[in-house]
């Protein structure tokens, strides 16, 4: 299982965000994308999951471009964007149930409640999401990570709005996914300690866009 990025280029308006970006990511690897605001971190993540089109280059999953195997790729992908995809008129439980079902999996109510409890939302499961705080809404979105079977996680600033407990929990979840043969790509300023696996870093501030490896076996 591998994600191969070949010579990727993205241009927004007049500005070239990045070009000639190439890397290979396999299981048991975590990639951190760094860069100042406006350097194209989110654009890169959206391009990797197929929401945005690259101006040049290609993204391969299992040696096939993601466009050619849309459904297979999306089945193995968990994407978390800036927005939490939480409906204010639905409860935390309903939101989680609908979002996991859309991703193609169905879970029993016990499993969903357990995931919400694990992420620290015990007591808020049936509350209307309008009453949840920003951090709690983020937790509902992240509860999907505890349930998903997706191999590739693409997370855009997953730690934003979370408190200490949730940050710790999320670090554990990400680390255990990487250890269990998963692959994670994320943008964050937060360290994610791993006990096994490899951390790769890409810094979009630099012009050469070569990934720096920091081995962590």
């Amino acid at each position: 299982m591998s994600l191969v990025v070949n010579n990727l280029q993205c241009i927004r308006g007049e500005k070239e965000l990045f070009s000639g970006l190439s890397f290979v990511l396999t299981n048991k690897q975590l990639m951190r994308i760094e860069g100042q605001n406006g350097t194209g971190k989110t654009t890169l993540l959206r391009t990797l999951c197929g929401l945005s089109q690259a101006d040049d280059g290609e993204v391969l999953w299992h040696n096939l471009t993601i466009k050619k195997q849309d459904e297979v790729f999306r089945n193995e992908l968990f994407y978390l964007g800036h927005h939490n995809a939480i409906k204010a008129d639905l409860s935390a439980l309903e939101n989680l149930q609908i979002n996991t079902a859309l991703a193609g999996a169905s879970y029993s109510e016990e499993q969903l409640l357990q995931a919400l409890e694990d992420i620290g939302l015990f007591g808020s499961e049936y509350k209307s999401s309008a009453q949840l705080s920003q951090g709690q809404k983020r937790r509902v979105a992240l509860a999907g990570l505890l349930l998903t079977n997706a191999k590739l996680w693409i997370l855009d600033e997953p730690f934003v709005a979370l408190d200490g407990f949730a940050v710790k929990k999320l670090q554990d979840v990400i680390a255990s996914h990487v250890e269990n043969d998963g692959t994670v790509i994320l943008t964050t300023h937060q360290e994610v300690p791993l006990t096994q696996g490899k951390i790769l870093t890409i810094n979009l501030d630099q012009s050469n866009n070569k990934p720096n490896r920091s081995d962590n076996d």
């Binding site: 999306r74 964007g81 800036h82 995809a85 639905l90 193609g104």
Partner: protein, 223 residues
């Protein structure tokens, strides 16, 4: 694949149930527009009978554009649309579910309340039945064409007005044949069948192309 269809349909109906005001806005708009005409043009029976088909359809067209703006924008703003696009199923199937939900919430209520119009406009009973039938066939076309415009204008400032401008000209064929069928049903010895068949043809054509075109437009809009 079919499951995404049911999930989205059920979700949209549930959301509308929690927030009923949007359904009633469309319905009341339809009734109010229709009841304004007799006040403006007078209550002469012959005049009202003559204008009724056009008035009903124009009110239906305007009412259906009211809620179009919200068709995708709510999902777009809270990130659900990205989830739907990235779901492992065909986007056009998900779009069809959203269109169906939209019609059930804004088109079907118009069909059901339309007999009330018969009272305002002195329409005979068989004309009222024809009116319900053509609205039943024609309003899904409005939702389907509207979805394309809503997807194209997604994320634009002032998109709501733009949707109406884009979509109202496209509604003309439905208006012509829909109103034509109702007028014809008040004449003796003329068949309304050609009108019904043409409306059905529009409906089928829109059902085939609209979800697909809308899906393409959505992908462009969220990029």
């Amino acid at each position: 694949m079919t499951s995404a269809f049911w999930i989205i349909l059920k979700r949209d109906l549930l959301l509308a149930l929690r927030r009923r005001s949007e359904i009633f806005t469309v319905l009341f708009f339809f009734v109010v527009v229709i009841s304004l005409f007799p006040l403006g043009v007078g209550t002469e029976e012959a005049v009202l009978k003559k204008i009724a088909p056009g008035v009903v359809w124009i009110a239906a067209l305007l009412a259906s554009t009211l809620a179009l703006d919200r068709l995708f924008s709510a999902d777009y703003e809270d990130g659900t649309l990205e989830k739907i696009v990235l779901a492992p199923s065909f986007l056009s199937i998900s779009v069809l579910a959203k269109i169906l939900a939209h019609w059930l919430l804004t088109g079907l209520p118009l069909v059901l309340i339309s007999p009330l119009v018969g009272l305002f406009y002195h329409l005979p009973i068989n004309t009222i039945l024809v009116m319900m039938l053509v609205l039943l066939i024609g309003t899904p076309v409005l939702s389907m064409l509207g979805a394309i415009a809503a997807a194209l204008t997604l994320g634009l400032r002032g998109g709501g007005v733009l949707v109406s401008l884009l979509v109202l000209p496209l509604y003309i064929p439905v208006l012509v044949y829909g109103a034509g069928a109702i007028s014809t049903s008040m004449m003796q010895g003329v068949s309304i069948e050609p009108y019904i068949l043409l409306l059905l043809a529009f409906s089928l054509l829109a059902m085939v192309f609209s979800p697909w075109v809308t899906a393409v437009a959505l992908k462009i809009s969220i990029e």
